[in-house]
Symmetry: C2
Subunit: 379 residues, 2 copies
């Protein structure tokens, strides 16, 4: 068996699990820290990730395929060797970036032809190519190649796209099985997660989930959310599709989100999350605290000798003041971004720790009610 | 007594010393790591400085006066509290920046009026103002306010400027004594170093050195070099002025330089150095190694799994490959700069360590001959 999910405790639909696999065990609910090109934006290295309680790193197939190239990464020993992150790594399929970043794309049954956002060269990516790239990267978890339909979508297009994504998923599975059996594959226990699509149409979502559940994959993701729809739609879709997600498989809500979104996602039965928001916000000085979100550029922090969050014990808060960090932003010193990304990611990883504690202690409802709005409030 | 210099060993003109003062002892020859605005460019914090064997940090009076303001820094407890660097800090006088960065400056006997390079506002700085700012910053060592005449200079102008700089130095000393005796001064043992000027005219340099030596200051710097003159001129001036520098005072060659320049400077009797070159070069991928300077952007490093320098044990070389670092530059990841600045500063601090060892062991001539050209060679 390539992986094992142990359900430790539940509260309502919420789940507290342990997910064992190659490259180590992840305690869930967990947040994956995003290293798009193999490095966390804001000058964080794999060594820093340990300090900020990261359990699992996420890297982007599309970006690494375009630059430096997945074959180069394979030659260098795979993404673990290349980045020096020794824990689990999830790679996305490239699908989302192909549909959001690349230009002049053309979708056919075989796959997608598009132009690289870096040098404009024409690239073809289909299910097999995506699996081959992810196999070359040697990640712990590979994501299926899917079409992420933009919001709002036409019902008929969404329906046809879903059908094609299921056919792509079957091809992904076959290709992954083949790759995992090759002698020179870096990670022969690479896992494959399927992705539920169907835009905001509940019937499409459910039908699609039923179909992909039958393929008995290593985990299941809900994709195509947090792409501009109101959060009520997001929550409605999660709750509609959740009963059809296998209970014995790990569940991943892609690209989500704010602390409130995550608290709500866990509440509705999700195990793992990822989002660029905490590091992107940090680079602009928008910082998560246990009292809400502060903007460190605000004049009121000019002579404030307190840490970003007096309740936080991250490497930044243990050492530096709001006043100093605000000065670093004004002086355009890169250190500002680094200190703030460290803080925000530590905050997210600590949030997940507290979520797990609340589930362990059976008081997640209370935790949810206390924090779901508070943590997303700008103060 | 505010400081103590112990001459441990000499070889020719070269000196191996120990410099004791408030904020700790510095083993010299030493290189000061430049944190212009209170942070090392490349996202290094004061905590990182320990890891790269930094003994003494340098910050810029002009930059900190303009932003965030020295009075704010004083309110925050001084530069040590603000940046969290607990070792010695030298602040320059602001003179060099006033003459190189600021616009529309006007020099009078009282001091210099100029426009801030940040917001254009009119600022006046004279010897007293420079001392007050440095006292507010609470640095270990304050530098005298001087005029740094541009190269090449007219003899007559250089001569008059030197005379004025001596008069300014007398005012600096009086003001520093006054400030150190005030009850709310952060560092009442702040040291004052005088700066030798005189462009490339040996007679002016010597006359000026004799005059400032009489003031019995805590240390002496050679300023106004490495401003575009050929390195032969720099070495000639150092050797001309060195016999007139007090042997019992620490000697600082300002803004110098390449590893070869430093090896030559030590050879000619200099104790401490500073330069933005190692961190600036690092941010462009130009990296110091014990075999010469490499450009990590070079195609030949694309699949090179070795560290930047196989002989180096810095945090970067202990963990990351040339291939990964080259990729980070291509992908415009800030981590590239951070890893390279860590490496280059570690290289400089290790160079000083090896220089001290060679002096301790009485084989500095051999060390000099082996490395003086080699380390500056692009390979």
């Amino acid at each position: 068996m390539k992986s094992k999910l142990t359900l430790i405790k539940t509260e309502g639909t919420g789940r507290r699990c342990e997910f064992e696999k190659v490259h180590g065990t992840v305690q869930t609910p967990a947040f994956m820290n995003v290293a798009t090109c193999g490095a966390i934006k804001g000058a964080l290295s794999a060594l820093d990730l340990k300090e900020i309680k990261c359990q699992i790193m996420l890297s982007n197939t599309y970006h690494l395929h375009v630059r430096p190239g997945d074959e180069l990464v394979k030659e260098m020993g795979g993404l673990h060797e290349f980045t020096r992150w020794q824990g689990p790594i999830l790679t996305d399929s490239g699908g989302f970036q192909v549909f959001s970043l690349a230009k002049l794309r053309k979708i056919q049954e075989e796959g997608v032809t598009f132009n690289s956002h870096v040098d404009g060269r024409k690239i073809f990516m289909g299910p097999e190519e995506s699996m081959q790239i992810q196999s070359n990267l040697g990640s712990t978890i590979a994501m299926a190649f899917d079409e992420c339909v933009e919001n709002p979508a036409k019902y008929q297009y969404a329906k046809e796209s879903c059908k094609r994504t299921v056919r792509w998923l079957q091809r992904c599975k076959a290709e992954m099985d083949r790759l995992n059996s090759l002698p020179d594959t870096i990670n022969k226990k690479q896992l494959l997660f399927g992705i539920n699509q169907g835009c905001t149409f509940e019937d499409l979502r459910i039908e699609n989930m039923k179909e992909i559940a039958e393929l008995d994959l290593d985990g299941y993701a809900i994709g195509g959310l947090a792409v501009g729809e109101p959060k009520e739609d997001m929550y409605r879709v999660i709750s509609a599709v959740e009963p059809y997600m296998p209970k014995d498989k790990i569940r991943y809500l892609m690209g989500v989100g704010t602390p409130g979104n995550i608290i709500e996602g866990v509440y509705r039965g999700v195990d793992i999350f990822d989002c660029v928001m905490p590091s992107r916000n940090a680079r602009h000085g928008h910082l998560n605290t246990w009292s809400g979100i502060i903007n460190i550029n605000n004049k009121k922090y000019e002579k404030d000798n307190q840490p970003i969050d007096p309740q936080c014990d991250c490497p930044t808060c243990r050492n530096f003041s709001r006043s100093y960090i605000r000065h670093l932003f004004k002086a355009k010193e890169m250190l500002a971004m680094r200190l703030c990304v460290m803080h925000n990611l530590y905050f997210y990883n600590t949030l997940m720790e507290k979520i797990r504690e609340a589930l362990d202690n059976g008081n997640y409802q209370e935790f949810h009610d206390k924090y779901v709005d508070l943590l997303d409030t700008r103060i």
